[in-house]
Symmetry: C2
Subunit: 458 residues, 2 copies
């Protein structure tokens, strides 16, 4: 079975066995079967547990050997000593894909290491594949499928995350995940294979990686280098400190290695390295919603002078420059502005807005900036009520616009954003410009490599 | 009138004239009178406008000269050419405090500079004081008073902010402001004076400054150095870039100056310098809700191995060390944990939680850490539902605990936080540890200076 077929079994099974299904239900019960029903999984579910006959209206099978012969995937959560038996019986029953959620393997002790080696050997002999152990497995919002305990929000976004911790699947990130794969101890299926799969996955446009430790680093980098020419690949390497390296070893059983070495390798492969989960989400959002950014000249539209000053600090920090507006742009709305404060860049529109109507001045100013060829990208500064105005204005344009939303980040933000449908918002100018810089750098690299392939062809 | 009396007029007027009151009402009308009524201001309000007789049930005065003789404060928002006349008539009517909201002064052009000099001269002659011009003035949640257009959330928190932009009063910050003073162009009342006032203000425990430019830097630093020995003083200097320096000049008419010079001076004065608005809010929150932190040894309680790894990265970055737990602590809950994963620091409690009950294991682990003398501070990693559990556990203790809250920051966060009443939460380990580091550094400095004063006394 090639990796595409295997990954399809992991991410889009038509039938799944839940081996070691719990009888507890309700909040805090970590019941995968209940979760699958709740998110509307359309395939067949076969719970396995010798101590009960049915759960939530489903027949429970007493053992793996009694399962039907057409199971695509087994999700395994029995005690660690029992896992080798389940994998053995499963492969004999024709199962080719296993997600092992159970922990206590290579990350734990010598016995765990031996058990992990054992399950790999059993699977290899039957050409079956394993994700995990010590993993929450997968989420696929396009297929209403998850092997995790938690209920994912089903958003069919073309963003895939490959990680080494279940926390990333549902807990950490603020961005809309369409697919998530937690590799856990990574005893078999690894980053390079999943990357190869996602390269060709039409439901994935952006790939995010959370890496604690790598094995076969050279192969990973070769694959990553190829994939990033098609789709942006963001990477968050955790386990940078000494103490974290030790903790990571006990978390996924892999050494997280020297940070500088990783950093250099990621850069060479053309990956977009990020330092925090915030940054990962911020940049993914920009790639998801914005056109490419070819250029460095930024305009700022603001109701706040101090906001403009802070944005300028961030602008300089991320290597942008302040666009020099066309005369046409300045003159377009000059009449609304006090004579001593013409609409130069940054355009501080508060006084004009108070006098002539906030929404009108904001829209007119943004319209003029969108049509100015000297402006490559725009940073809006705005309160929540202005988001709709911005969305309406930018609908006609193909210029990257990011917005620093003023006000308490948190209070009703998500619902207001969903209301307006305008997504490219950030809680600070630093985060807005950081995301824009990543977009600019990737756009430049892509443009360069298409030029190169063009010149090779000619 | 000394600065205390003047500042009382600005922040707690018993009667206020709104000169240039607008007749528009409702959303987007920037009506200060309406705003004062909405927030429940208890003093007398005297709108001034020659073109109307009443507004919102209040008598409107045709001119400043017809005002009663007992007005504490005038909020001025007439066209800039008229401002000198208002200040002159006002001082003659006995008004000793003016907030000038109108812009177009020193930040604008030569005429504006001259007008600004003129109002200063008029006020000085009558020993009256001016905040502004080009300022939104003040907010005082303890007195239900605001000269701003916007409706502040009235939270009587002992945090005061002094800034040079109205955006800070209500728009930028995520923290609960009790008092806010926007100095705008700072033609008269300045940072040093407001700091002196806040030093003795019993309603203020923490002071935050947003500075674009300083005048009389030496005097400011002398005062700041004294005040920070009583109360933590956080400072955000904006206008760091070349372009921002130019923009700040046109924003508040003051030169923002070289960043390195400011930085060195702030450090010498013992101020806590922050780089972003996020950081300002994060650190203020820690000072507001946590006891002092004397020590460097941190324990981590987590449901996620990867979360622990990321927290360790942040821990090292901010100069903390991982606490070595007492044997007593490790043994207290060992029975719940798998033999290969005892509750050492970081305590990864997920497996134990799944087996024995999440809330029970979380509480028991946190209790043990709170009692461990080898632990100076604790970082909790937790989903929203666990916040109540954490709050209950730490109620008995006087140890600083910060929490990295997993999950989508934004969605209902504020209301959930208010529900639990537990405030010291952060959206990432980096932000949690950064705040804790500021608390540690200030605590150490305070301890050192009390030691010094003790040794001086003996």
């Amino acid at each position: 079975m090639d990796i595409t077929e295997s990954m399809d079994s992991f991410l889009k099974p038509e039938s799944v066995a839940i081996v070691g299904a719990t009888r507890r239900t309700g909040r805090g019960s970590f019941n995968v079967v209940e979760n699958l029903l709740e998110i509307g999984f359309k395939g067949r579910i076969y719970p396995v547990n010798p101590n009960m006959e049915s759960i939530l209206g489903l027949k429970v099978y007493p053992s793996v050997t009694t399962l039907p012969l057409e199971v695509d995937l087994a999700v395994v959560m029995v005690p660690r000593e029992v896992v080798p038996h389940v994998v053995k019986d499963g492969t004999e029953r024709g199962i080719k894909a296993f997600i092992v959620i159970t922990d206590g393997f290579a990350e734990a002790d010598e016995q765990g290491k031996a058990l992990q080696a054992e399950i790999v050997e059993i699977a290899r002999a039957k050409r079956a594949r394993i994700i995990g152990p010590n993993s929450l497995g997968v989420i696929n919002c396009f297929h209403n499928f998850s092997s995790s305990w938690m209920v994912p929000k089903l958003r069919q976004n073309p963003v895939a995350l490959v990680c080494q911790s279940g926390g990333f699947l549902e807990g950490f990130s603020d961005f809309a995940l369409g697919k998530g794969i937690d590799l856990g101890n990574m005893c078999d299926v690894d980053f390079a294979e999943v990357l190869s799969y996602l390269e060709k996955d039409p439901e994935t446009r952006i790939i995010a990686l959370h890496i604690e430790g790598l094995r076969e680093g050279r192969r990973f980098l070769e694959v990553a280098k190829r994939v990033q020419q098609e789709k942006p690949v963001l990477v968050l390497k955790t386990g940078r400190s000494e103490a974290a390296t030790r903790a990571a070893a006990s978390h996924t059983g892999s050494l997280s290695g020297r940070q500088e070495v990783h950093r250099a390798a990621f850069r060479q492969a053309g990956l977009i390295e990020v330092n925090t989960v915030d940054e990962l989400g911020d940049i993914a959002k920009a790639f998801l919603h914005l056109p490419p950014l070819y250029g460095n000249r930024v305009a700022i539209l603001t109701p706040s002078g101090a906001g403009a000053t802070m944005t300028l600090d961030a602008l300089e920090h991320y290597g942008f420059e302040l666009a020099t507006l066309l005369e046409r742009t300045v003159n377009a709305n000059r009449e609304f502005f006090p004579p001593w404060s013409p609409p130069l860049n940054p355009i501080d529109m508060m006084t004009a807005g108070v006098r002539h109507g906030y929404k009108m001045v904001y829209t007119a100013s943004l319209d003029a900036l969108l049509e100015d060829e000297n402006v490559d990208a725009i940073v809006c500064i705005a309160g929540f009520p202005t988001l709709k105005t911005i969305k309406a204005a930018i609908a006609k344009s193909n210029k990257p616009v990011v917005t620093w939303v003023l006000g308490e980040w948190g209070e009703g933000l998500r619902s207001r954003i969903n209301e307006t449908g305008y997504q490219v918002v950030y809680p600070s100018p630093e985060r807005a410009l950081r995301a824009l810089a990543a977009l600019r750098d990737y756009s430049a690299k892509r443009a360069q490599s298409s030029e190169q392939s063009l010149s090779t062809m000619m």
